[in-house]
């Protein structure tokens, strides 16, 4: 069942999908990957509002190295990942060591994402500031360039991002089944008690944070190379950081496909409303989206997919109970 769905998804673009639906599908998977990366730590009680910083590092480091030093994204990506790991460590270690949790953690990471945005804007001579930056094209006389990681065909991007998304889900599953997840759940409930039975709180939290940050950074690289345009507002700062958090929450951050469902709903909602109402009404889709967010957090904190799965589970349990009785 699961595999059949995957085969259908992988073959769907070959069945003559238009360019625009394909673009939407790619964006769903790409943001699904980023939201999943966030949920890996978010579901364990570490609500970071700073993931825009990691996304921004991934997007900008690779584009800047390519534009100013001619360094291929194949080399730029590891550099961006190392930089992300350093930033995540410098912020994460003291946070976890000094037990900065809950909304204090959220606000420290919020400061981080704003620092990333402001640095990008301030370095306007290199980054183009608020106007954004475009990687120098390597597609002048060919349809694709492997060295520059630029492809004009959306199909190639679909498969690259599909693989990244699947890898993200696989990592999510690995973390879900690990002892680390159980330990961190215990920590998120009662940190002192967990520490008293010998859990190394700082190390466990730091490990998951690094994993989540690195994946988000990689998502940033893919975003920049696919869109061939980066802008400080769309890859860093408070706006995108909140968007990541809310995407994961709407879909359901406690289930594997939840963040992806959140990404799909967010994108489709905007598209459907645009089709239904037209381009002229600015802000209607985000109005409905914002209202949805508020209602979700109040009435359905487990998200859409989370609530559906829970309801199915209950029905199945009732059935087995009826069968055994």
């Amino acid at each position: 069942m699961k595999w059949a769905a995957l085969v259908v998804l992988a073959l769907a673009p070959l069945a003559g999908m238009g360019n625009y639906p394909l673009h939407l599908l790619i964006m769903c998977l790409l943001w699904g990957f980023v939201y999943t990366s966030w949920a890996i730590m978010g579901r364990l009680g570490m609500v970071s509002l700073g993931h825009g910083a990691f996304l921004g590092i991934g997007a900008y480091v690779v584009v800047l190295l390519w534009n100013h030093a001619g360094i291929s994204p194949w080399l730029g990506t590891p550099i961006a990942l190392v930089l992300t790991a350093v930033v995540a460590f410098v912020i994460g270690y003291p946070c976890f060591r000094f037990k900065i949790v809950g909304h204090y953690f959220a606000l420290v990471t919020l400061a981080l994402t704003e620092v990333a945005r402001l640095v990008i804007v301030a370095l306007r001579d290199q980054t183009g500031g608020s106007l954004g930056a475009t990687p120098n094209t390597a597609l002048a006389d060919s349809a694709w360039s492997l060295g520059a990681l630029q492809f004009s065909s959306k199909l190639i991007w679909f498969y690259i991002i599909l693989v990244a998304w699947l890898a993200g889900l696989w990592i999510w599953g690995r973390v879900d089944r690990s002892m680390t997840r159980l330990a961190l759940e215990a920590i998120s409930q009662e940190e002192d008690a967990a520490a008293s039975v010998g859990m190394n709180v700082t190390r466990l939290k730091l490990g998951v944070t690094l994993l989540s940050a690195l994946m988000t950074c990689f998502g940033g690289v893919l975003y920049a190379q696919y869109q061939l345009y980066v802008n400080p507002e769309t890859v860093s700062g408070i706006g995108i950081s909140l968007q990541i958090v809310f995407g994961a929450i709407v879909g359901g951050m406690f289930v594997r496909l939840g963040p992806t469902v959140g990404a799909a709903i967010t994108l489709l909602l905007a598209e459907v409303l645009r089709l239904a109402i037209g381009h002229d009404v600015h802000g209607l889709d985000t109005t409905i989206y914002g209202l949805m967010l508020v209602l979700f957090i109040i009435f359905m904190p487990k998200g859409i997919l989370g609530a559906i799965l829970e309801a199915l589970e209950k029905r199945r349990a009732a059935k087995t109970a009826a069968a055994t009785a």
Binding site: E114, V119, V281, G283, L284
Partner: protein, 288 residues
Amino acid sequence: MQVFDIFLLEAVVNGILLGGILALLALGLNLVFGVIDVVWICYAELIMLGMYAVYYGHNVFGWPLWLALVFGVAVVAVLGALLHQFVIRPVLAAEPINQLLVTGGVLFFLQAVATLAFGIEFKNIGIRLPQLSVGEMYLSVARLIAFLVALAGMIGMYLFLTRSYLGTAIRAISQDRAIMPLMGVNPNRIFLITSALGGGLAGLAACLLVLQYDIHPAIGLTFGPITFMVCVMGGLGNMIGGFIAAFIFAQFISVGGFFLHIEWGYVIAFVFFIGMMFWRPQGILGSK
């Protein structure tokens, strides 16, 4: 380069005045946080709506400025109470982080509603206060007023909280939420009043911001984060701490911006904030 010149002095003085604005911004958020223990992530968006209210009162309905300003304060005070009643109250018993996130959802909602209702064009009320020239320095009159209002607001708040019956009840409930109902105080009523007061202070900030900045739906994002940092660094709920923190931040921004560029001023302020969180997470005046 001679560093201690008149321009640096101007930057320092402007920093002090900017501190007044930040302190005023932080005042309402601090009150709400101190009493209800909820961070309104959408606080700056309430201010944005207050700015629109003043604009509509003065420029669209053609009211005199003082009436438009009063209208702005009243609108945000009502919004604060509504926010508490319909959004915060249902999640008061939920995990603290849900309370933070739900107001984040309100942030998106208010921003989008403002875009829908007012459009994305920049608006301004067409009143620009003059620059005051002192010696060779140029100081913004609007900032001077903001500074004085912030000072008056803080003193007024202090007197209200310490000298009035209602203020005493508010302080008591912020110390022990569970015991106050037994003393015959209705906590929900107190929370509602506090939210309206916090909203009113946000409206006051809006009145002063509208004199110096253009209004657009995303303006909240430009000063929202710095307001949270000021509150947290002052020790959330600690008004005097918030006041001092506002001036420290403002100096970083103003003087840092003088030597480098305004964005670097903010970067230094935020990095300083992160460092301070590790050093004194309870805030500069907070106690363990």
